[in-house]
């Protein structure tokens, strides 16, 4: 069988991710087979016959072979899981009852109520240092359905939005009405962090929290030092606390 040019690689390594390795191996094997069967040399193959010989159906077959092992892909966009629940795992999280749902991060620092009646439920990275902490009512905003609900009814005053999407689009129509944001992902330079800074909304990113339910009264330590960008490249991370106000 003919070889691919990249088959002889003095320094090549195995990709760190198993799915990437699996797909890469499958595609290179496909390219090798089609090149071998093509009866042309590589210059005629690469931008000539390969365009017809390596097809969308071939790639669909690779996906099917992976799924046939029982593997299910992780999803990042809700639409992906909703349209093809057969190929994506983790559907349970989408259908969880919002009233009973809470983020449960294993690294969340928690504590007993202090003298002010605040029990720590975790911490996050402060986008901008403000004169005072933000206090409000926690409301999870994790789906388009919730956004549409608030577009119709209005965002309740004093809402501290609890979000797991560090992007700036899911909450676009309602973002400016939040009294605060706790995002369980991203960094202070993620789009949500950038927009919170633009709007002047108190915001903690990359929050590791647990035990906060919809409707809980919470306080976020936006008076803490802001997370410096260089902290993401080996510097010291400064963290801001998140409390549930229990009395």
């Amino acid at each position: 069988m003919k070889k691919l040019y990249v088959d002889e690689d003095r320094y090549g390594a195995t990709p760190a991710n198993l799915l990437v390795e699996t797909v890469r191996n499958a595609v290179t094997e496909l390219a090798r087979r089609r090149f071998d069967a093509s009866a042309v040399d590589w210059p005629q193959f690469v931008f000539g016959v390969s365009d017809q010989l390596i097809t969308s159906q071939d790639f669909a077959d690779i996906e099917r072979r992976i799924l046939d092992t029982g593997y299910r892909f992780g999803w990042s966009a809700v639409i992906s899981q909703r349209e093809r629940p057969d190929i994506y795992g983790g559907a349970d999280e989408l259908s969880a009852d919002p009233a009973g749902f809470s983020f449960e991060h294993p690294e969340a620092a928690t504590g007993e109520p202090d003298s002010n009646g605040r029990a720590q439920c975790g911490f996050g990275e402060n986008v901008v240092r403000r004169p005072a902490n933000a206090v409000g009512v926690a409301r999870y905003v994790r789906s388009s359905d919730r956004v549409i609900e608030y577009m119709k009814s209005g965002v309740p005053a004093g809402t501290i939005a609890i979000i797991d999407d560090s992007g700036g689009t899911l909450t676009a129509p309602i973002l400016e009405h939040f009294a605060g944001i706790v995002c369980a992902g991203g960094t202070v330079r993620s789009h949500l962090g950038i927009l919170a800074r633009e709007y002047g909304i108190p915001c903690l990113m990359n929050a590791r929290i647990r035990g906060i339910r919809d409707g809980d009264r919470v306080e976020i330590e936006t008076s803490a030092a802001a997370m410096a960008a260089e902290a993401y490249f080996g510097g010291e991370a400064k963290l801001a606390r998140v409390w549930k106000v229990v009395r």
Binding site: Y11, P43, F59, A60, R129, T169, R189, L195
Partner: protein, 519 residues
């Protein structure tokens, strides 16, 4: 140039200096891409399948940029388009030209290399051409600061000439937190930024910042551009953005007691302390496009008019945001992936608008060679593969001799595979991936309506007018009257004429010419 087969070429048309320079440009792009992706962003979206659309856009860029850039250059050379870019705020700045053009293309190449579907010497003349086009563009666009990228300048962008900075500076309206202008400007800036992330399908490519420029010991000027706001070459804005009166808006901002330490090739910034609204001390508002004589003031006749304009634009953008969000929320995954892939891939489309050669099939479809990869682009694979391409550098093609210590990480890896010099000693190569092939899209077809400074035009009319138009400052008479020439010839009638041209729409400097003494 000799041929060793139907598609293979021997080396005779390629020179050693060409390869050396191309590889240097690629290495610089790779080093910066690694740094940007590691330190400047972590993105996720539950609304958009971001990683799948990014990979699709890279593939489309690889297969199409060489042909489309040649088509553009046949009408207007890269360096002349950059001359125009230096005098307006279209989407041919950062991150479009400073980063995306070479890196989208090269990341597509690297993706195909990683899958065994390409050799380092395949599409070799395409790679040389794309990088050369980029280099010439960037040198021209950055000619006032003398660098090729913000990275090379220590992450700073001083694009504008003295005459334009003088107008931006003198025409600013001062503001302080709590006053009407500050409140209106703050609200507009946040809303326009928010709208931009949405129109660009969860990417930051429709806004950019350049500068900083020193105003005095306590103030720096930062220039922010908002792009693709109205009905334009993003089909999902058809109808939605019909009431948005400008497709491009430029906001010069005076910022008090805040030093910008990084303005990167993505058009993002860092400052000490953080630039929050409390530091905003002055603001202006302008529009421009391929048909304007540079920057045209918007609502700048009076302070009250500017406040009213900013309020009005805020309302219009808020309305458009809500409508667009609802449209997007009803999309299928294929539509979301296509919109994201297209807005990413066509990030450089304004090159075609300036040259007057924009065509819908070129910029608003996915080439069938790229489209065939769709079944592989599930969320997980795309996310992991994207991570490997830009930051992980753990694919076989990334690995180098164990003695190598790459910039920023000391690992034996590199982001981009260099072109092999062995082609100069006879190893065959394939020059090009060939012309663009038919494409497709799951989105509604583009309505033939484009908001310009000359009103809403059909594409044919927009292209025709763009081809027929050269801004006065970019004509042969003025084009090479550079900052060095002005330094020593400011007393001449020609210098005065040059400054008066820039000042035609200025509320404070009109007709002053070079008579305004430097600060």
């Amino acid at each position: 140039m000799g041929s060793t087969g139907n598609n293979a070429m021997s080396h005779s048309g390629i020179s050693y200096p060409q390869l050396l320079e191309t590889n240097n440009l690629m290495q610089n792009c790779g080093d910066e891409t690694f740094w940007l992706c590691l330190t400047r962003t972590v993105q996720g979206s539950k609304l958009f399948p971001v990683s799948p659309y990014i990979l699709l856009s890279y593939l489309n860029a690889f297969y199409r940029y060489p042909s489309l850039l040649r088509k553009i250059e046949a009408r207007l050379p890269a360096e002349q388009i950059a001359d125009r870019a230096r005098n307006m705020g279209m989407k041919i700045q950062n991150s479009a030209l400073g980063w995306a053009l070479p890196n989208f293309y090269l990341l597509g190449r690297e993706l195909l290399l990683s899958l065994g579907m390409l050799r380092p010497q395949d599409a070799l003349e395409d790679v040389i051409f794309v990088m050369d086009f980029w280099k010439r563009y960037m040198l021209s666009w950055h000619r006032n600061d003398g660098h090729i990228t913000n990275r090379e300048f220590g992450h700073r962008a001083q694009i504008l000439p003295d005459r334009r900075l003088e107008v931006f500076h003198r025409d600013l309206y001062e503001c302080v937190p709590g006053d009407s202008l500050h409140t209106a400007a703050h609200a507009f800036l946040a809303m326009a930024s928010q709208y931009g992330f949405l129109t660009s399908c969860e990417s930051r490519i429709s806004l950019t910042n350049s500068g900083p420029y020193r105003l005095d010991d306590h103030h720096e000027l930062i220039v922010r551009d908002f792009m693709d706001l109205a009905e334009c070459s993003l089909p999902w804005l058809d109808g939605i953005a019909a009431d948005v009166p400008y497709n491009y808006l430029t906001v010069p901002m005076s910022v008090r007691d805040c030093h910008f330490t990084i303005v990167d090739d993505w058009g993002s910034f860092e400052s000490k302390p953080d630039f929050t609204a409390e530091h905003l001390a002055g603001v202006g508002l302008y529009t421009s496009d391929a048909l304007t004589e540079g920057y045209m003031p918007v609502g700048m006749a009076s302070r009250d008019q500017l406040i009213a304009t900013l309020h009005s634009l805020h309302g219009v953008l808020k309305e458009a945001t809500n409508k667009l969000w609802l449209r997007i929320a009803g999309w299928t995954r294929d539509q979301m992936v296509d919109a994201g892939a297209l807005v990413y891939y066509n990030i450089i489309k304004d090159l075609a608008h300036v040259a007057g050669v924009f065509e819908v099939d070129d910029w608003l479809t996915i080439d069938r060679r790229a489209a065939r990869f769709r079944p592989l682009l599930n969320d997980e694979f795309a996310g992991q593969m994207l991570g490997s391409l830009v930051a992980g550098l753990d694919l076989p093609n990334h690995q180098q001799s164990p003695y190598v210590m790459m910039q920023h990480s000391d690992r034996p890896a590199r982001t981009y595979t260099p072109l092999p010099y062995s082609v100069l000693s006879g190893e065959e190569y394939v020059p090009s991936c060939g012309p663009i092939q038919p494409g497709s899209s799951h989105l509604d077809p583009k309505v033939d309506r484009y908001r310009t400074s000359a009103g809403t035009l059909t594409l044919d009319e927009y292209n025709r007018r763009a081809r027929d138009f050269t801004p006065a400052l970019c004509t042969d008479k003025y084009r090479f009257l550079c900052e060095t020439w002005v330094k020593y010839n400011h007393h001449t009638a020609l210098a005065n004429e040059l400054y008066e041209l820039e000042q035609r729409e200025s509320r404070t400097l009109r007709g002053r010419g070079t008579g305004n003494r430097p600060r």
